[in-house]
Symmetry: C2
Subunit: 283 residues, 2 copies
């Protein structure tokens, strides 16, 4: 993890243009995902048999990077498939496009519709634009800092539930198959089956955060995800009135690989108190 500084100023018009570019990029990425969805995929495994990457992930990331570089040659870019290049993991004050070409790659490979393209833009290390597009479900989530968040143009408002007993919590098992990590994750699952109304798991962290923003459930947490999984969704959630924190209850660090999102401070607090806080490293 490297955080450097060089404060950037952007006009409203520049932000508006970046938002429109983000929508265009998401649409193009969505078209590629949709075309590939029902075809057989060539799959590689990354860390474990559960951590997959496809040709489509890689093709989308290249396409998106070239669209952005062409229009914004001075902007930075952090993409899931470029993770081998540590240079790209610096988070500076420069405008930075943070991309997950396909969130829910296992769903994508197994023909499960919860797949999305996720694009967040940070300026001065603050997320100012978030776009999450699920082309199979035809759901486009968008947000701009201070301007609310939307699903297919409909304004979003997170649930106002404060009591964990009435809350449905979304979670992800994640790709790690390390025995100790899995044990801690199962302890969290067990504990929440006991204390919450129900648990759901969709296989896409980005869509799960967006679901909390849309009032479809009251909380989401994951240990082991990456900056590109929750940057866009995080803004979509906070602009819908939800809270996004480090699972311990402190401020979120976008490079720390864990996140907690809840519809209210009260649900966030209850979750934070109950969870075993797993440290899965930094981006």
């Amino acid at each position: 993890m490297v955080i450097t500084s060089s404060n950037s100023q952007l006009t409203e018009q520049e932000l508006e243009d970046m938002f429109n570019t983000a929508l265009q990029v998401a649409k193009e990425a969505g078209n590629v995902i949709r075309d590939a969805f029902y075809k057989e995929k060539k799959v590689d495994t990354k860390m474990s048999a559960a951590d997959l990457v496809t040709e489509t992930d890689q093709a989308i990331e290249k396409m998106v990077e070239s669209m952005i570089v062409k229009k914004y040659p001075t902007h930075r870019f952090i993409g899931e498939e470029s993770t081998k290049d540590h240079e790209k993991h610096k988070l500076t004050d420069d405008p930075t496009w943070i991309i997950d070409p396909i969130d829910g790659t296992t769903n994508f490979v197994n023909h499960i519709p919860e797949v999305c393209f996720s694009l967040g833009i940070m300026v001065n290390k603050k997320t100012v634009i978030g776009v999450v597009y699920a082309p199979i479900k035809e759901e486009l989530f968008t947000a701009r800092l201070g301007k609310g968040s939307f699903l297919n143009g409909r304004k979003l408002q997170a649930s106002k539930i404060t009591d964990l007993k009435k809350a449905v919590i979304l979670f992800e098992g994640g790709a790690s198959r390390d025995a100790k990590i899995l044990e801690d994750k199962m302890a969290n699952t067990h504990s929440l089956y006991t204390h919450a109304r129900g648990m759901r798991s969709y296989g896409s962290g980005a869509l799960s955060i967006c679901n909390v923003a849309a009032g479809r459930g009251q909380g989401f947490f994951e240990y082991g995800l990456h900056i590109w999984d929750f940057t866009a969704g995080g803004l979509i959630a906070t602009e819908a009135g939800a809270v996004v924190l480090d699972p311990s209850g402190g401020e979120l660090n976008p490079l720390h690989r864990r996140v907690l999102c809840a519809c209210t401070q009260e649900v966030a607090h209850s979750l934070s108190q109950l969870l075993v806080h797993i440290d899965m490293g930094w981006d």
Copy 2:
């Protein structure tokens, strides 16, 4: 549980008429679910804080029963909300309409779109018609014995994956908060996170079986569900080439409160070997 016998014969035309009535009933039920979905609900708890029933569940079941009784006065009826009346739990050879007015009531209460109406028809204790309608997602699953199954008119084919390591498994935690049952369920979840590619949980058993039929994942299991949760979905799955069994690997008994559905015999066998088989009683 009571199973009695008096072999029934129905013509193709009669079955066709029943199928059309089932579609009409599902459409009406779907309209009621859709209208109520975004409103605040009056909720009662049944067994535990996680086991909910709403006015809408009860209203739909009454409406559906009266539609069916009017057209088929000699047919029998088993509905989730009539469970207090043990008379209705006899499974005979008579044509029997088996209804879940809302599968996924917790989702319904918490504004999560995975809710459906489920209607299976058994004749001579064999399911001949299955209709599962998810009105918020606009997904209509249908099946007739020997005639295939369909999603919005598109023929379904389950996945052909045979290796559990490549399979995504759908499961439900269910409504019971009994400590021993939850412990066994968590053991199953843990074991499958270790051996399968991934786990998903949507909060609707009926829709999860239909998802396996549609090739969206390779298996589903649940302990503690009821005959109305899997009768329609079971036919939709087998007509799509999937297998539906008791989780132990033996023949399914529709009154035994547990089910295993898998895209292939091989995945069914692997699941059956790995799972702790929980006995949650009989309908």
